[in-house]
Symmetry: D2
C-alpha cells in the first residue's frame, strides 16, 4: 500500500454569475481509498458533488456570483494497485470485450484513431500481441516526441502531435491512446495527481484494456505509475478538464501537489499496474 | 401513435475470421415500442445482443468465419412522441443539468465545439434562448449548406463542413450539434430509420437538451421527425456506426427501408418532439 | 510625398555555421524611393544582396560562424502613393489579367482559397464589384476577428482564423487575401514597416488587383496605409519571413521602428492607394 | 533523343460566359523541343497564348460563350535529358543557391514543409547528403503509401497523405517535395504527359535542386522519367492545374495520351535525369 497526500489550490476572478464544473477530486475505486478529503471555498458556497458513470468519477459543481473565489482541495489516498508479470498479459479479443469497453475503440476529439488507423497498423500491426505491444507503442511515443511545454494547446490532437513531434503529457497520452485504438486495443485517458511531478501540475496518462482489465501506462516516463492518484477517466482530455466554466472566470493562481510521506517511487522498471 | 415498419438487408464478403458489431436495431424507449423484431443471418450464426448504457441502445455482435454473409433485420415500431408547443420550451441552466447530460457539452471527434465556440457565440450567442434558438441554429445549417452526396466522407468534421458548406445528413447534424454545444446547449447525435427517405439509407439527426429533456431536430428537413425510428444515440457518428469490423469484411449490398402503413408524414410544420 | 525613417536591430546567438536570409530592406519601386540605406553587421561579415523577381523585392544573405551577431538596418523612404477616388475603381476581368497576376489567384500555404471558395462566394459573391467589394471584405474581416496577440502562430492559416475568429495583422491579411481570391480577385501579401505601429514590429497588409493595378488594404486598421514602407510581397507570409535560418540561430533581441518626421498620418478615411 | 507524341481532348459543357485557363501544352526548354503543335477548339474561338515566368511555362486563355466546347491539343516532343551518374551529385549549399531557387524552400498550399520539418529532419536529417538522399525520400514515400485512386481529392495536402498513407501521383509528389524542403533541399512540382501511364491521364512528378540544377524524380514509379513530357512546374499542384475556370464549365470528357513510337521505356533503373 502506498499513501499519497494530494491537493490543489485554485483562485479565480469571477466577473459575472458563473457555473464552475470541477474535476479535481480523487475517484473512489477498488484500488484507491480516499481519506480525510475536504473541498472548501472562500467565500463559502454550496458545492454540489455529482457522481458520473459507474467508475467512481466525481464532479463538483458551483454557482458563483462575482467575487474573488478561492478553492482548496485536499485528501489522502491509499493505493493498492494490482501488480503483475507483464509477459503473461495478452490482448482481449473483440468478441469478448464488454460493451462498455467497446466504446473506447471509437475515435474521439483528440484521438482520431480513424484517421491514424492505417499508420498504426503499418507501424505496430505486425508486432506480438499483449502488454508488450502497448509498451512498444508507449516507447515509440516517448522516443519520437520531444517534451516541450508551450508547443501545444488545449485543441492539439494526436494527429497534430504525430506531425509536429512535440507536446506535453496530455499529448503523449493522446497519441498512445490513438495508436492503441488503431490496432484494435481499447484505450482511455486518465487524469490525476502524480508524485514528484516537476513542475507540479495535474498529470495525464492512459490505460489500455488487456486480458479483461485496464492497465496503466505513462508514455512520458516523467512520473511513477505507482504514485498516480486518479481523478477521472474519459475518452480523452475533453472528458476530464479540471475546470469547465460557463460564464466568465479567470484563473489567477493554480497550485497542485502530491507527496508520498514514506515511499520512494521510481520511474525505472515500472511494473504492469492495474488500477481500475 | 405512428406505426413504422423498418428493416435492412446487408450482404458481406468475409475473407478471414472477423468480428462484426452492428448498430442497426431499433432501441427500446418510453416513446418507441418495438414489435415483431427479427435479426437473422445466413449462414446461421450465434448473434449476441449487448445492451449499451442506460438509454436503450443495443449492439449485436457476431464472430464470422470466411463466407458470404447475409444479415436480415426487421421490426415494427410504435412511436408515441411527446409533442409540445415550442414557444414554451426554455433552455436548461448548467446548474440544473444532470451529470450525464453535461457529457454532451464536451467536444467530440466530429463535433469540435471547442474550436467553433467563438463562432457559435458570435453568430448565435445573442439570440433569445430556448427551443427557438436551437431551431434557428438548425435553420442556419440548412440554409448555409448544400446537400451534396459524395462531398464528404466518414472523417469529415463539423469544422470541415462549416468551411466547405456541403455535406449530407451526418454532416448537417454534426454542425448543428457543434453550434449548440458552442452556445452552452447539450446536444447529441441520433441514428435511425426515416420514413420516405430518398434514396433509402440510415438517417442521422440530432437532439438538444432543453427544459429537462431531449428534443429531436433534423437540420436537413429531408424527412419528418415524426417518422424517425431511433437506433442509437451518441456524441457524434463515431458512436453509432451501423457496422464496426475487426477483420476483413467487404459490404456487397445494403438495403434499408422504413414504411408507415397508415400515416401521411409531412416534413412541413414539424412540431417540437421529445422522443427520449 | 511622405518621408519615413525606418530601421531595425536584430541580435542573434549563433551556435553553429548558419546561413541567414533576411527580408528586412525596403524595396525599390516607382512609388517608394529609398535613401541613406545601410545594413551593417557586428562582427563585420560579407552581406550578399539578391534581387528576387521583377518587383523590387530584395533579400540579404549572410554566412555566419558561431558568434553573437548584431544586425542594424536603417533607411529613409520617400513615398508617393497613387491616390484615387475609390468609387471609380472596377475589378479586372480574368480575360484581361496579365499572366503574372493570375498566379495570385492560386491557393497558397496560409491562404486556402480553394477550401474557402464556397464560403467567399456565398458571403461576398453577390456584392457590387470593384474597390468597394474588397473594402467590404476587409471590413468583414475587421469586424469578425478579435485582435489577440499570441492567439495564433507561424503555421496558422486563413481557415484556422475563420474558425477561431482571433489573430494578428498576418492573420487578418491572410483571411482577406483568401476571401478576395475566393471571389476571383487576385490578392497578395505585403510585409513592411508601418508608422506608429504599437507595439512596434514588422507589419503585414495585403494588396488586391483592381482595374489593372495593385491597391493596398489593411484589414486591421491599426496603421495608416499612407505610412507603409514596403519590404516585400508574396503569395502569403511564407514568402516574406523577415528571417529564414539554415543552421542554428536564436533571436535574442528585435527592435523595429518607423517614424514620419513631418507628417501626421491618420488611419481614418484611408484613401485608395496604389503603391506597386 | 526520345520522341514522344502527346495530346489530349477535352469536352466542356459551358452554361454561361466563362474564362478558361489551360495548362496542357508542352513547355519549351533546353531539353524538350516541341514540334507539330496544334491547339484547336470547336466552335472556333480565339485562343490566347501566355508565357509565364522565365521557365518555358505556357498558358492558354479562352473566353467562351455558352456552348458545347471541344478542345484538341497535340504535339510531338523531342527529349534530350541530361543523364548523370547519381553517386556524384551533391546537395547545394544555401549560401550558393540562386534567389529564384530559394523560393522552392518555402512551404506551399499542399506542401506544408513548415509543419513537417521536424518529421523530415528526424527521419532523413542524418542521411548522407546528395542525390541519394532525395532518392531515399522518394523510396520512403513509395514504400509507405498505397496507390489508391479516389482516396484523396484536389484539396489533400502532404500532411494529410502522411497521416492517411494513401494517394495518387499528385499526393506522392507533394509528400516527397515537402520532405525534401524539410531537410533543406529546394523541390518543386512538375505536371506532364507520361508514356504508358495506366489509366492514361496527366501525370505529376517532382524535381529537386541538387548541385546547381534540377533533377527529376517520380516517387510513384508508375512511369519512366525518360518518357515525361513536361507541361509546367510550380510550387505544387496549385500552380499547374490543367484547367482553371471562371464561370461555369462542366468537364464532359477527358482523353489524354502519350506514345513513344520507337523506344521502349522502362521504369526500372531510372537514371538521374536533369530536364530543366
Amino acid at each position: 500500500m502506498t499513501q499519497i497526500d494530494i491537493g490543489c489550490s485554485l483562485v479565480y476572478d469571477i466577473k459575472r454569475p458563473t457555473v464552475l464544473l470541477l474535476k479535481i477530486a480523487a475517484s473512489w475505486t477498488q484500488h484507491q481509498i480516499v481519506n480525510n478529503e475536504s473541498l472548501t471555498s472562500s467565500p463559502v458556497l454550496n458545492i454540489e458533488t455529482c457522481q458520473i458513470g459507474p467508475d467512481g468519477n466525481r464532479l463538483h459543481r458551483l454557482v458563483v456570483d462575482p467575487c474573488r473565489l478561492t478553492l482548496n482541495y485536499q485528501a489522502s489516498a491509499e493505493l493498492t494497485p494490482g501488480i503483475e508479470r507483464t509477459g503473461d498479459i495478452r490482448e482481449s479479443l473483440p468478441a469478448e470485450m464488454p460493451p462498455d469497453v467497446l466504446t473506447y475503440m471509437n475515435p474521439s476529439r483528440y484521438c482520431e484513431s480513424d484517421l491514424l488507423g492505417r499508420f498504426a497498423f503499418e507501424e505496430f500491426g505486425h508486432l506480438s500481441q499483449g502488454y508488450v505491444r502497448v509498451q512498444t507503442i508507449c516507447d515509440w511515443v516517448h522516443d519520437h516526441l520531444e517534451y516541450t511545454p508551450g508547443s501545444t494547446n488545449s485543441m492539439t490532437t494526436a494527429s497534430d502531435v504525430l506531425l509536429q513531434r512535440t507536446g506535453v503529457c496530455r499529448d503523449y497520452s493522446h497519441l498512445a491512446i490513438t495508436l492503441c485504438r488503431g490496432v484494435g486495443i481499447p484505450a482511455r485517458y486518465i487524469s490525476g495527481y502524480a508524485v514528484d511531478l516537476e513542475p507540479p501540475d495535474y498529470h495525464g496518462v492512459m490505460e489500455a484494456w488487456l486480458d479483461g482489465q485496464w492497465y496503466l501506462f505513462d508514455p512520458t516516463r516523467i512520473a511513477s505509475t505507482l504514485g498516480l492518484v486518479r481523478i477521472g477517466m474519459g475518452r480523452d482530455a475533453a472528458d476530464v478538464a479540471f475546470a469547465t466554466i460557463t460564464g466568465t472566470a479567470t484563473l489567477i493562481e493554480k497550485k497542485v501537489w502530491a507527496r508520498s510521506p514514506n515511499d520512494q517511487l521510481s520511474t525505472a522498471n515500472n511494473p504492469a499496474v492495474s488500477t481500475a
